[in-house]
Every structure is written in structure tokens, then in C-alpha cells.
Symmetry: C2
Subunit: 674 residues, 2 copies
């Protein structure tokens, strides 16, 4: 296994010196040999993990291909146990198919793919995953992988072939390559392979991976047949395709000198100026001039003649010129509504108490790579409360099940003081404890994974800051809900006492004294001193609900105020617009209502329908109020400052009240700030 050439070239009589002995052993290693020997780097370490990894690579590719072609993904996974540690895996999609000539390289050659140089969000980028799966199957069972594919178009025939990888030269060996008729299949690809593995259920299982995939890909239908022959289906939660991410050009920021030198040597442009202007994003005529002037480089110079020193000067100039951030249509975040929909769809069995409104942060960029962070928190119900919170990590819509401890997402979570948001945590550091599920999604043109196995995201400070921001916004929403629930239950208790006990007491006292029973209405009002907003939701059918807010004025003054809520705007209809108290709704679905002159001890109602597949993503408790001092409100939060809509101002009388109730008001304020 040694390079004979090197041994022969060792000078005669010098073979005793260590340097010559070492020289004789020096040799090149093929990339396939390297990965074959270091399977754990690709994620193929334990047998159970290997089984999962293969399926993950196949499904990721299928989803990428379907989205590329604009098809709602239909993915099937079958796991069949052959014996002890041998499994047969079958995975099929309805993607655009793979051109016959390309099938061998796509499945049988490492570091070969279509997306490595493409700057846009996609699951696979390295051209390693599926070939590594085929290789692992080959190595562990000695059997080839069987690939079938049919491309779109009526006249296209389907092709099938067996593939083995020759690891010494990293090339596919193809056999049984033939055309066939794929009954009833319009287009798509299937891969079937045998592999050593261990099938597990529960944590880090195939089921868990597919379930989590369904959460962040609500537009996909995923069917899973387990080794017992049991079938699970994660149905599509929405027919809405995610917006297709666009490919962008590299952004000059964050480029290293070596990158620039290489781009310059490979460009089709004739001048350095044209090269800067046409091969990079956000470089205008003016910016190109500015860079070249600062770097003292002639704009009409040939790009391939640019020297190392000139590149150093240009990179230096780029840091000094203000360039717009890269375009962000290369990203395709899930969006807050669909994250919630996905979570509700999959987690309804756990009957959580609360889905905190998910947060999609505005895109940022680090080293010229745009990225976006999304977060969601689910709380209570049957989520176990005695352990650490469950963390669901996602990168470019792919669940990350391993290496939690190595991931920037975990680091961001552990660095937040969760005690401020109602979760238990020793010393305000580490993964918090409590009945919660925390979801984080990082989407980028280039997610910086810590290894080829794509199991954890590297700890870039800019990324951690954004994750932390998203989580805190989401957590604030949770905390505010927990506070509201606590206040509500306290007030409920007070109400019960006041409404049941007081009339009883009055009646008894009156009897004993031989006096008439007094009218208690005003007394009750005085004791309670709140405007009560009571939400109700009635399910009409699977995709239709009636929402009602009952509003009682238990204060001793007439009240005028506004109610605000953010609705899934695809689901609102005439019942909303025709409601006399309805005022307006903006593009984001933020709707405003007005209640005028509600007298003491009086009540009123706001009611409307929500229709459509997203109707259940609206949380009736997420209602805000303005025009009234929040200490006098029960059941609605004070309109937050960042809501983007100016509510009604608080009247003077109410402002004075605030001073009396300073302490309570301060507490309420605490929820809104930070």
C-alpha cells in the first residue's frame, strides 16, 4: 500500500536517516479513501446513525430537487430489515428526475454536484451526501445501490442502473444500465440500497427526523414504512410552495485575497472594472471606480493579469468602501405563520398550552453570505416538564439531530438567561429546564457546518447574536403569555368570590338585619375595576372557526378603546369587514377594532369567521388593547411599541390612575420593554 516510486527514489546508502525513511512513506491519499477511513466525519459512525444518515441524504436531495422544479414534494421512505444488522432502504420522490448520463456521477462520485458554486439556499451543497450513502452501503454489504429515474416530459423513458463506487479513484462503476417503463410515474427518482445499520425508535430515530422535516417543510407529504411494516404519513399542512430562492453573485465583503485572485483568473470579463461590476453583487459603476482608485489598479487592466499585491490592495479597498448588503431573495425562510402551522400540525398530539408567535428575523449577512434566523417556542400541555427543554435545530429546512453540543444554536440558547422568561435555569446559564420545545431555523446561502456530516453549525458570533435576538423576542412573547395566564387565573378566582360570595353575604346580612337586599352591581364593579376581554373560538369544521371576543366594562367610568390582533389574512372574510366595530387591516394582517363609549357594567361583542388551512394558526389570546391604562384590562395586553400601528392614546383620567397603581403598572411595563 505504499508508493513504490518514492521508495525507489531514496538515495542509496542514506536509508538510515529518519528523513529518508519518512520520505519513502509520503504519498497522496484519494479523497474517497480519506472518507472511507474517516466515515464518522461524514456522519457514518454508529450503525444506528449510519442508517439515519443515508435516509437523510436521500430525502434532502429529493426535497431540493422538487423545489427546484416547483413540484409539491411527495417523498416515500421504506426501511426493510433483511437480517441482524442488514437493511434494505428504499427512497422515492416525485422530483424532476436526473438525466440518464448524469446518474452515475450524482450517486457514485464524491465531491460532485450542481450546487457547490451556487449562492442560494439549498439543503445539499457539497456533492458528498448521497454518494457517501452509496459508498457506505457498498462497503458494509458489498452490494451496489440501485437507482431509477424518469425525467419530466411525455416522451421520456425511465432508466435504471446499479452503482458501486471505486474508492481508489473516486469514480462510479455502473452495471445493469437499462431503460424501462415506470408504470404510473410521471417523473421522479428512486434510490434503493442495502446497508449495515441498527434501527432505533425514539430520540435520533428515522421517525423523529422525518417528523421534524415535516415541521419545517409543511408543503411536503412524507410517507414512512418502518421495518415492522407499519405506515406513517405526514400529510401536507399547506399547498403553498415556499418562494423559490434565487441564485446570486458573490458579494465582495468577507472575500479573502485568495478568493479574489481566483475569481479574477477565471472570469470571462475583459477588464478589471467590468469584472468587479459584473461578477459581484452590489458593485455599481461608482463603487467599482472607487475600489480601483483606492487600490491604485488600472480599471482597464486585464483581470487575469492582476497580481497578488493588487488583490491585497483591492481587498483592503473593499473594506473601506460602503457597499450595500447582498440581496436576500437567495434565501427562502419558512415564515412565522408556516412555522406555527408546521408545529401545530405535528405536535397537536402533545396538546401544548401555547405556541409563542414564531419570529422570522430580517436577513443579515456575514462575510458576504446572507442568512436569516427563525425561532419558535411551544409550551406546556403534555410536553415533559421534568427535564431540559427539547431543542429542535434546523439548517436550510433540514433537522439536525446529532452534535447538539457542538452547535451555535445550542450555544445561543445556553447563553440566554431564561429565568427572565419563566423557565428554570441554574445560575442563568445552560440549557433551561421546563415543559417547552425551542425551535431554531438558520437559512443561508452557505451554512457553516462543523463537518461534512452537516450535524452542527459553527459558532460565528454574528450568527449567535441573531439566534439570540430571535429567541428573546419569542421568549418575551411566551413570558407575556405566562404572566397573562397567571393574572387571568388570579382574577378569575377573585371574580368567583365576588360574584358568588358577595350576593350571598348581602342576602344573609339583610335577612339578619331585616333590611332589603342591596344592589351590588356598582360594588362589584368597584372591587373588580377592570375591562374584561374574554376570547372564544368555535370550530365549525377542519378549516373554519368562529372567533368571538366578549368585552365587559367592570370599571366605574365609560370606556373608549381599540382592540388589535394579527390575523392570518388569507383566512379573513366578509364577516370581518362587515363588522361595524372593524376599522382596518394592513398587509401583515394586523387588524384594528374600536369600541366606543362602553358604559360601566355594560358588555359588548366582536365576532368574525376565519376560513382556510391557516385559520388555526391564530391564537385568540394574542389580542392587544390601546386607549386604556393596561392595569385596568384583563385578557388583552397593552399594544407593544414595535407593533407598527399607533393605537388610541390613554385618556387623562386614566393616566392619573396610573400613579396610584404605580407598582402594578411597573410590573406590566416590564413585559413590554427589553
Amino acid at each position: 500500500m505504499r508508493s513504490d516510486d518514492d521508495v525507489k527514489n531514496a538515495p542509496q546508502g542514506k536509508d538510515t536517516a529518519t528523513a529518508y525513511k519518512l520520505a519513502a512513506k509520503q504519498q497522496e491519499i484519494s479523497v474517497t479513501e480519506f472518507f472511507e477511513k474517516n466515515k464518522q466525519i461524514l456522519g457514518f459512525d454508529s450503525r444506528s446513525k449510519s442508517l439515519l444518515m443515508g435516509i437523510k441524504e436521500a430525502v434532502d436531495n429529493s426535497l431540493d430537487a422538487c423545489e427546484e422544479a416547483g413540484f409539491l414534494p411527495d417523498v416515500t421512505v421504506k426501511v426493510e430489515r433483511l437480517n441482524d444488522e442488514d437493511y434494505r432502504i428504499y427512497e422515492e420522490d416525485n422530483g424532476p428526475g436526473i438525466v440518464h448520463k448524469m446518474m452515475p456521477n450524482v450517486f457514485g462520485r464524491l465531491l460532485y454536484g450542481s450546487r457547490f458554486h451556487a449562492l442560494r439556499q439549498s439543503r445539499g451543497q457539497q456533492g458528498i451526501g448521497i454518494s457517501a450513502t452509496v459508498m457506505y452501503g457498498n462497503i458494509t454489504t458489498g452490494k451496489p445501490a440501485h437507482i431509477r429515474s424518469k425525467i419530466e416530459g411525455q416522451d421520456e423513458v425511465a432508466w435504471q442502473m446499479d452503482i458501486v463506487i471505486d474508492t481508489k479513484i473516486n469514480r462510479p462503476i455502473v452495471s445493469n444500465d437499462k431503460a424501462f417503463v415506470w408504470d404510473g410515474k410521471e417523473h421522479g427518482t428512486s434510490v434503493e440500497y442495502t446497508t449495515k445499520g441498527r434501527y432505533i425508535t425514539g430520540k435520533q430515530s428515522i421517525f423523529e427526523y422525518l417528523r421534524d422535516t415535516a415541521i419545517v417543510n409543511p408543503h411536503a407529504r412524507i410517507e414512512f414504512h418502518d421495518p415492522e411494516g407499519k405506515k406513517y404519513v405526514f400529510e401536507r399542512a399547506t399547498e403553498q410552495m415556499p418562494p423559490k430562492s434565487k441564485e446570486i453573485k458573490p458579494h465582495p465583503e468577507g472575500m479573502e485575497i485568495g478568493d479574489l485572485l481566483k475569481y479574477a483568473q477565471n472570469t470571462q470579463q475583459k477588464t478589471v472594472k467590468a469584472f468587479l461590476k459584473n461578477d459581484f453583487s452590489r458593485v455599481t459603476d461608482r463603487i467599482a471606480d472607487e475600489i480601483l482608485e483606492k487600490a491604485s489598479v488600472d480599471p482597464s487592466a486585464k483581470p487575469e493579469k492582476v497580481t497578488r499585491e493588487q488583490c491585497i490592495a483591492m481587498i483592503d479597498a473593499i473594506t473601506k468602501v460602503k457597499i450595500m448588503a447582498p440581496p436576500t431573495d437567495c434565501l427562502s425562510p419558512i415564515g412565522d405563520t408556516l412555522i406555527k402551522k408546521g408545529l401545530m400540525h405535528i405536535l397537536e398530539g402533545m396538546r401544548p398550552d401555547y405556541y409563542a408567535t414564531p419570529v422570522t428575523r430580517p436577513p443579515k449577512s456575514v462575510n458576504g453570505n446572507p442568512f436569516v434566523v427563525e425561532a419558535g417556542i411551544v409550551y406546556g400541555g403534555e410536553i415533559p416538564s421534568d427535564g431540559q427543554v427539547t431543542i429542535l435545530r434546523f439548517a436550510n429546512r433540514v433537522p439536525l439531530l446529532y452534535q447538539q453540543g457542538a452547535c451555535v444554536i445550542t450555544k445561543a440558547i445556553a447563553d440566554i438567561d431564561w429565568r427572565r422568561y419563566g423557565l428554570e435555569q441554574r445560575g442563568g446559564k445552560g440549557i433551561p429546564f421546563g415543559p417547552a420545545i425551542v425551535l431554531v431555523h438558520v437559512a443561508s446561502t452557505k451554512v457553516p457546518f462543523t463537518s461534512e456530516g452537516k450535524e452542527a453549525v459553527a459558532s460565528y458570533p454574528e450568527l449567535q447574536t441573531e439566534i439570540s435576538q430571535a429567541l428573546k423576542l419569542c421568549a418575551r412573547n411566551l413570558k407575556s403569555h405566562l404572566n397573562k395566564m397567571e393574572r387571568k387565573s388570579k382574577t378569575h378566582a377573585k371574580f368567583e368570590i365576588v360574584q358568588d360570595l358577595l350576593p350571598d353575604l348581602a342576602k344573609k346580612s339583610a335577612e339578619m338585619l331585616g333590611r332589603p337586599v342591596p344592589d351590588l352591581n356598582r360594588t362589584i364593579t368597584k372591587i373588580m375595576n377592570v375591562v374584561w376581554v374574554e376570547p372564544q373560538s368555535k370550530k365549525v369544521d377542519k378549516t373554519s372557526r368562529v372567533i368571538t371576543y366578549n368585552i365587559y366594562n367592570y370599571t366605574n367610568t365609560e370606556r373608549t378603546f381599540m382592540l388589535h390582533m394579527r390575523l392570518p389574512k388569507e383566512c379573513v372574510n366578509l364577516t370581518l369587514f362587515s363588522n361595524p366595530r372593524f376599522r382596518d387591516m394592513n398587509d401583515e394582517g394586523k387588524a384594528n377594532w374600536i369600541v366606543e363609549g362602553l358604559a360601566p357594567s355594560q358588555s359588548t361583542q366582536i365576532s368574525f369567521d376565519l376560513k382556510g388551512e391557516l385559520s388555526d394558526t391564530f391564537d385568540i389570546d394574542d389580542v392587544y388593547i390601546s386607549g386604556i391604562n393596561p392595569v385596568h384590562v384583563m385578557g388583552a395586553d397593552s399594544l407593544p411599541g414595535d407593533w407598527g400601528i399607533k393605537g388610541l392614546e390613554i385618556t387623562e383620567a386614566d393616566d392619573n390612575d396610573l400613579v396610584d397603581d404605580e407598582e402594578e403598572a411597573a410590573e406590566v411595563e416590564d413585559l413590554g420593554d427589553e
Copy 2:
């Protein structure tokens, strides 16, 4: 940047189908391009980490080379700040040097090296590290690396050259290649490069890496010049070279079918039987026959003609045949004494209370790869007590500073219930809290790192079990020490009361009653009822100590017992062997002493010298006793069952005592078991 060939080959008129569009983008990626784009996988993510990584790769290579040649390593590292983020790094060793012709490939080509196929413990194996360092320097500063090397031998001239890596083809570009006279240098290599970086101090700093390297490489001298021009030297703690690890052949166990097929195709052997017998370790004539019979393969068949099916059958047969574990002289563990020496040498500034005796486990093997685990714990003194314990992770004598959360060592630590061993830990899980430093070293012919950056070890269950075992043994030693200290301080208090107060009381009472003062010797003995072993150590000079054990019999019977301790045997001398109470000492340095017929209220002494560089590794508190019920002993532990030497049996009278003091005895026993 796309492969034009593929685009041209797309069929005419079909370019609208997604499959064809994708096909046009398919292309191979060079391994250098891959790593250039995924620098974080190689460990080059943040600027501060990148600066460290480069130095780490250079120093690892230097130590490997020195050990290969049998030279005590002398390594120098200089960090010079050029401006803002630009640094010049200089690293030099006294290794065997690199043959002139090989210099370009060693420093300028990824996946090129001498140790990839060698089955023996070494720091570098992948042939990636130092080339990645050169590449990162090239890319970030545009400047070549400057290499110098001189190989052993009087007539050898030194060579120097500048190297840049062409990442498109993964080949070195050499300039300024010339011979020179390296003044005063006998042999060795230096590498100098400029790189972007950020210099930090404290955690994960270059200083920390070099300090930790010194701990597990006590035979190395390491000199560090920081950017401020300050010089730090980690002097050699021992002149003793680690035993050289030997290269072994692959072991049949744990081989995959693909591995066997490949070995068979590349062998020089003429028959399958000779192939099995000569190309693998631990395969005898009989075992080769047995495997081939079970697999129904003709022993005289040509190896290169072996089919995939035959390989499957042979792999299956191998699991059914009993084969000896692989030889372990391919490993070079540090050893318990040198681990302790290394820790003491480096950590003495923290004045720890206790160095628990480090544990070197017997070698095991996983999938045919031998490995050995070592552990040590340092406790108390000025080690911060308010946070989590400090974890020092090492693999093949290299400190691992990053990715702690991803490492099997961390997992093993977090899965131990440390509350049993005297450390604080919530719910008996997670990293414990307290004033301790926990060291774990994993040595193997193939450490399964989670990525090319070699920052964390993958979670193989066999590995975790061994780490856990080593830590528990070490922790038991710590716990026993903590208990001993606690008991000692309690008894000390009792002693003070008895010896000071009692005579005073007796005197006062006698005065009051007008009686003579009674003799209290027997009373004190009765109250104390222990044999007291009091160790003392007197430093004579830097490498010499006098050890004395003062032994008092505060019980009311005559006592005969043995004392046992494990001494660094290089350090014992005539003072030990000429001591009349000395009995014998074995190869491990376990020494036995006898004290016969020590009367009540009497005392005696055992005293000897320790001389040599390891003399300070002996902990005077690590003394054991036999022939006496441990409840009657203070200052020495009962001889553990796994000590390997049979002590004196406990006399009958003492055994009866045991029943009276059942509870206390049970507590003592608790320390010895598990």
C-alpha cells in the same frame, strides 16, 4: 465557473426541463476548493481560532517528527503582530528534517502524508493540517509560506523555499528554492508564514494550547514568544522519551467488506491464505484455515480474483472465529506517573490540594483499532470552586481546545454521577461543579475525530465506557482522599480536646478533691482507640525528599500490621532497602513494610529518601494498611482488594470489634468497593 462540457452536451430543445438544467450545472469539485470554501471544517473559522490552528498543526508535526527520530523535542513558537489582523508566525523544531524533494508536497498539498495508512499512534495522520495552514495563510494574506529544513547527517546542507498552494489542482507552487547554511543547526525544520488572525489570551489561547501540550508531553521543551515580545518556557519535566509506538498490520475484526476487497486487490501475496496470514495481525495458520473453511473459499485461490460474495462470506466467518486482540505496542500512553508529573510541573502555581493518582487503563480495541484511555483529577487549592470543573481533553498527546460539547470525553464526564465522588452536580448529570481539573487522554492508532479540524472525538460506545471506567477509578481515589481528610480533621479536633483538656480537667478535679492527679495515658488511649499514621515530607533539594511516617498506637492492645505504598521506583535507594521494617518492593514500585508488636501507647517510625526528577510525584497520603481493622486506623486506608498484593490478615480479636462498629466499618468499606 461551470463545466462547459456538460452544458454543451444537453440535448437540443430540451433545455426547459429542470433535469437538463441541473445536469448542466453538475461538476466535480477539487478537494482543495472544497476545504477553501469550508474552512471551518478544518478548524479555520474565527480569526482567533485560525491563528491557534496553524500553530497547533505545526507543533503537532514537530513533536511527531522528533519522536519518530528519537530526539527529545525542542520546539519554538513565535507570534509577531504585523498590523491589525495580520500576524507572522514562526515555528521551529529539532526534528530529523524533511528531504528536499518532499518539502513542497508536505507543506503544499492537501491529503498528502506519510502516516495515513500506518497503524500506530501519531498526532497527524490525515496529511491535511500543515498544508491547510499554508493554504489559509496564502488565501488570507496573499503571501507564501517560507520553509527551511536540514536533515540529520554531517554532510547535509539545509534547504529553504517559498510555497503557495494552487487550490484549483491541489499542488504546491515553489519559488526561491535554494540551499543555505543553517548556522549552528544540526537538524530540524522551520515554517514561517503570514496569516490573518486575532491574538487572544486566556481560554483557547495559544498559551493554553502550549501549556496543555507540555502537560502530556513532559519530555518536550517548548518555548513561546508572544506578540509583546514576552518569552515563556515550558521546560522538560523528564528526559525520558516515550516508548516509540510500533506500526502494526490491520486486525481482521471490524473490517468492512469493502476494506477486505480492497486489501485483496492490492496485496503482494500469491494465495488467499498467505494474504490473510501475512497482511493481517493475529491471523495464524490455523485461524486462516478456519476462516477460509467457514467461508468456503479455496486457500490457494489468487487474492485479486476474490469475489464480492467471497468477501462477504469471509467477513462473516471472521466474526465467528476467535482471534486474539490486536497488539498494543502500536500505542504509547503517557503513564500514570508521567501524567502526574506533567500536571504537577505545569499546575504548581495553582497549589492544588490533591493530585488523584492518574489511571492508565489496559488497552482495548474497537473495530480492530487498539486504544488506551488515561485519566487524572486535580483538586482544591487555588482552582476556582464556583464554576464547572475544568476539562482537559487530549487525543494522541494533543490538547483539544474546541468543540468540547461535541466530544465523547465530555459526554462520558456528564454521564457520571459525580455526587458520589464529592463533586456538586444537578440531578447527577451534566458537567459537575467544584474546584477540580479533570484530564482525559485517548490514544489510538486511529482516533475517530468528528471533523478534519480534529477538535472532538466521536461518540463510540466502547470509547465512552473506557473513559468512564478510568474516570471512576480516579474519582474513587479522590473521594477516598476527601473522606480521609475529613476524618483526619475531625480526629485532629478530638485529639486536641483530649490531649489538652483532659489533663487540665484531671488536674483541677484532683486539686479540688485534694487527691493526686491520675495517670491519663490509658484513658486517652481508650477514648481515641486508633493507630495513628502521620506522614511527613521534607524537601532536601529540587529532586530529593525525606519521607517519614510516624506511627502511634493509641489502642489498648498490642498491634502487628503492614504498611503499603506505591513509590516511583526510579527514586528509591539504599535508605529504603536498608530499613529493617522494609519487606519487599515489586516492579510497579509497590513497597511493603511490617510493624510487629507495637505496644499500646507506644510509637515508631518508618523513614526513607526519594531521589530523582519523579520524586515529587509520590503523594505521602497515599499509604495503605493491612492486618488491622480499618476502623482502628487513622491516616492510612485499608489495602484495596485490587492492589495485587495480599496484605496481612486481620486478627480474630479485631474481627469481633468489627461487629460492634458495624456502621462505621460499612462506611469505610464503601470506599473500597464499586
